[in-house]
């Protein structure tokens, strides 16, 4: 499946079907993240059940503390 993540086309492995999978794919599962799918923010409690479709535009922001 092809997704647009943070503005760039990304080919996802077959098992990726949910927002949670996308987050894990980028190694961000232990981070505090904000995710938007097709311009709609996704509540973190729904990361595991929010399905992502072919071509979805996903924005992921993860919080960091450095400065």
């Amino acid at each position: 499946m092809k997704l647009i993540v943070n503005g760039q086309p990304v080919e996802m492995p077959e098992h990726v079907t949910t927002v949670q999978h996308v987050i894990a794919h980028f190694g961000l599962e232990n981070r505090i993240v904000v995710v938007e799918v097709d311009a709609q923010i996704v509540d973190k409690h729904h990361f595991a059940d929010r399905i992502v479709d072919e071509g979805a535009r996903i924005e992921i922001v993860h919080f960091v503390g450095g400065g």
Binding site: N6, Q8, R31, E59, F63, G67
Partner: protein
């Protein structure tokens, strides 16, 4: 006598005043504003320089650390001389900034910002710039901003990545709305590295937002959580207004400001990735470092060697460990992540100090 062209003049702001949305009126507003910058590391020094050059009338800087070699690659206000003198960042920043713009009032405080310090320093502040290197301080800052209804601008970076968000109390979600718990550790620039352009990009976002707020151009505010990765060429902006929580303990109707309730206890923290322990006494002290230094040289030179002392701190070492003791009784113990070992060295120093001040 200085020639007329050598006198600082309002003309220094001419290009900024020619920028329509700021203009002469905006410049006057900047001159009447007071900005508090929490942290004077990479974000803080860059932010401070931009605001002071721009003519913000009053800038207060808080920082708990001193200048080291590893800072110079990106912390643009500091020099090799500052490193050799182990100058506290807040003081070095003030000295440098006063040479850039003598018309700005710059106040500098060498301290580890906690609620009571911020409550004392917040009077008259129009805006808080986040330049922290940790989330604990950011949550305190978030509570102070909510309690006194002062906007603050979150900014953080690591590697080539950075993000920023402008928090307007009573309007946007706050930091507590965005995360239920303080993130533990996570990435630190000491482990993962950082490139200066990532710092500058975060500060570019923060200071542009600051100019908009301080000159009354609220309609121009970004209003989104922005992030970027300069190495992987990614830019993102998310509207997070939906994350605002009515029952938020920091900014909701029944706010309790939980991060301002911290008890006055001794605190020891391992600074992530730095092989350093930060120790803070339950109450601020006022140590006589000169006498302490003499006592060490005379009576304890077999265990402890004083490296350097200035008006703000004393640096000494025992074997592989180096302790930097500040006037207010805080200490950074380098060369260990063992809190007990750090505390032992700290107590040895404090005991000598107590004897010496009797």
């Amino acid at each position: 006598m200085m020639a007329e062209q050598d006198q600082p003049s309002f003309d220094r702001y001419s290009r900024q005043m020619s920028f329509g949305p700021i203009g002469t009126a905006g410049q006057q507003q900047l001159a009447e504003c007071h900005v508090l910058i929490v942290g004077a590391g990479a974000l803080g020094s860059t932010s401070a320089e931009t605001l002071v050059r721009a003519g913000v009338g009053h800038v207060t800087i808080i920082d708990r650390d001193y200048v080291e070699w590893s800072n110079l690659q990106r912390q643009q206000l500091y020099t090799e001389e500052n490193v050799r003198q182990r100058m506290p960042k807040a003081i070095a920043a003030k000295q440098h900034l006063e040479r850039i713009n003598a018309n700005v009032q710059i106040d500098a405080y060498v301290l580890d910002a906690r609620g009571e310090d911020l409550e004392r320093l917040i009077t008259g502040v129009d805006l808080i710039m986040d330049a922290c290197d940790n989330f604990e301080t950011r949550f305190i800052l978030n509570d102070i901003a909510a309690k006194y209804r002062i906007p603050w601008i979150y900014g953080a970076c690591i590697g080539s990545y950075g993000l920023s968000y402008t928090i307007l109390p009573g309007d946007t979600p706050c930091l507590s709305c965005m995360m239920d718990i303080i993130p533990n550790g996570g990435e630190s620039c000491d482990v993962d590295g950082i490139i200066a352009p990532a710092v500058q990009m975060v500060v570019a976002h923060q200071t542009a937002e600051a100019f908009k707020l301080l000159t009354g151009n609220h309609d121009a505010l970004h209003r989104k959580l922005v992030s970027f990765d300069l190495w992987n060429n990614q830019y993102t902006a998310i509207n997070i207004q939906a994350m605002k929580k009515q029952g938020c303990s920091s900014c909701g109707d029944q706010a309790t400001y939980p991060y301002l309730q911290s008890p006055a206890t001794e605190k020891a923290a391992i600074l992530c990735g730095r092989d350093t322990v930060h120790l803070r006494p339950s109450e601020a002290m006022k140590l006589d470092l000169r006498t302490l230094s003499e006592q060490i040289r005379q009576y304890h030179s077999r265990q402890l060697q004083v490296d350097i002392m200035n008006d703000f701190l004393l640096s000494a070492h025992r074997d592989e460990q180096r302790i930097v003791l500040f006037v207010d009784g805080r200490a950074l113990v380098h060369g260990t992540t063992d809190i007990q070992a750090a505390r032992q060295l700290y107590i040895q120093m404090i005991n000598i100090s107590t004897v010496s001040t009797r």
